[in-house]
Symmetry: C2
Subunit: 253 residues, 2 copies
DNA sequence: GAGTGGTCTAGACCACCGA
DNA sequence: CGGTGGTCTAGACCACTCT
């Protein structure tokens, strides 16, 4: 990546920069390699740092770069495919579920959640917090909203909160007949607490997967899962190795 | 939304701004209403315009605002749910498909696509371009990559290119037995051509849905669909009215 | 032409990380 | 501590849309 002068083109500088750097990433850098710092890069391309940052932001959004404050900018590995297929027609916490229960506490759900649960707006539900770790990295957090009516018998569970109780609530859930589910995916930005757990800054782009689980003709539970959009690719169906966007990347030495 | 002074807090100004404006959106504005312009808002909150823009960008990313150059910033309607469920186990272009075929031309697919299609890297395929319109707005573009071997008999199709040929290729596809499909969703940024069709600027955030269709033990076709991330919520399953993220929005008068 | 959002600059300081 | 990316400023000019 030499001292490339950007020829004057009608397209925005940051867009052109993104293309140029993106190509350099494919040809001159290996996964995990550290890029020159932003001030240096900006000087090299003859643009202000803010302009350069706009290009890097886009590349990070596309999962091609990873930036960490105090450390530097590195070439990101390909996105990890996370299976969110509906085929394991199971409740959260079923056998084979790879999420880690983190905690559980009773609370009044947000109004929008209460609405899909068909509960009263001020009726507290069990909120189970879970974390999904893949390749040693946290990739998603989830809040599972469980109305008391869906787990009527919690007598066997001593723990008042925490991971143990979370697992207990999810275990209790397995006794309900699951009749179907309903899912939506949309773009969001990480709330402060999610961001902390996902090792990102607040506002980082995330894929929000909202699921409704039906049992006995009503919505038994609802869950909102938040996936890191920069590092994840959500997969539906049997094969998680579908990769179609980028190529030509070398592996780290 | 008065001349609110931001109290000095440890969190970034733009983050706090986003919260404040977001709340004002819920309580003081109707869908479709125009906000004061950026210079005015920045002055009101006592911040630089760039800082204000950072907040607006986040709100736009979350689908709560819509900004158009030369026009202004308006309050966005709730995201439209787009059904991408796998249940209509059908090829693209099957009966009931609401996409509009735009064109079709032979071309060598990108290397990454050729790989999943199991074709030679330099073998041209039919590339069908389609557009999905919802509520009068274009919400997605799609490229369907069809190897010649999947539509061996195109003799009935006169049109050399264009929408007519696109429909012909898709019609021919229906004769193949569909054995399954495979899907992935990830975040991307709009290429220049997609952006134009979606009425957005290049680099706008999009949800990229990549699908592989299997027939007779191999990948018969592949498709890459690009949805506007700001206005769309992808839904899987029977109910497209699942909305769980925001509430309290009034309707435009 | 007037007014909007989009791009860009050249600085400054802050928060965080690792040696 | 020095170096990194993150935040913020106060300007300027451009591209676009409406009237």
């Amino acid at each position: 990546m030499g001292t490339t002068q950007l020829e004057p083109v009608p397209e925005p500088k940051y867009w052109h920069l993104k293309t140029v750097i993106g190509e350099a990433l494919d040809s001159d850098f290996a996964v995990g390699e550290i890029l020159p710092n932003e001030r240096e890069l900006a000087a090299r391309f003859g643009v202000a740092r803010a302009t350069l940052r706009q290009a890097l932001e886009q590349l990070e959004l596309e999962g091609r770069l990873q930036r960490r404050r105090g450390v530097g900018t590195t070439v990101a590995p390909p996105r990890v495919g996370v299976d969110v297929s509906t085929s394991p027609n199971d409740w959260p916490g079923a056998a084979g579920d790879t999420w880690q229960a983190v905690g559980c506490s009773p609370a009044v759900p947000p109004a929008a959640v209460a609405r899909v649960l068909d509960t009263e707006g001020d009726e507290p539900v069990h909120i189970v917090r879970r974390l999904l770790v893949s390749h040693g990295q946290p990739v998603a957090t989830e809040l599972v909203y469980v109305p008391g009516t869906s787990v009527p018998d919690l007598s066997g569970i001593d723990a008042p909160s925490g991971a143990t109780r979370a697992r207990g609530v999810l275990r209790e859930l397995q006794r309900l007949p699951l009749e179907g589910q309903d899912r939506a995916v949309e773009l969001g930005s990480a709330r402060a607490d999610d961001a902390r757990e996902l090792d990102r800054l607040p506002g980082a782009p995330v894929l929000v997967v909202t699921t409704r689980y039906f049992s006995e003709g009503r919505t038994a539970i609802a869950s909102v899962a938040t996936y890191r959009a920069d590092t994840c690719r959500l997969t539906f169906g049997d094969s998680g190795d579908l990769e179609i966007r980028h190529d030509g990347r070398r592996r780290a030495s």
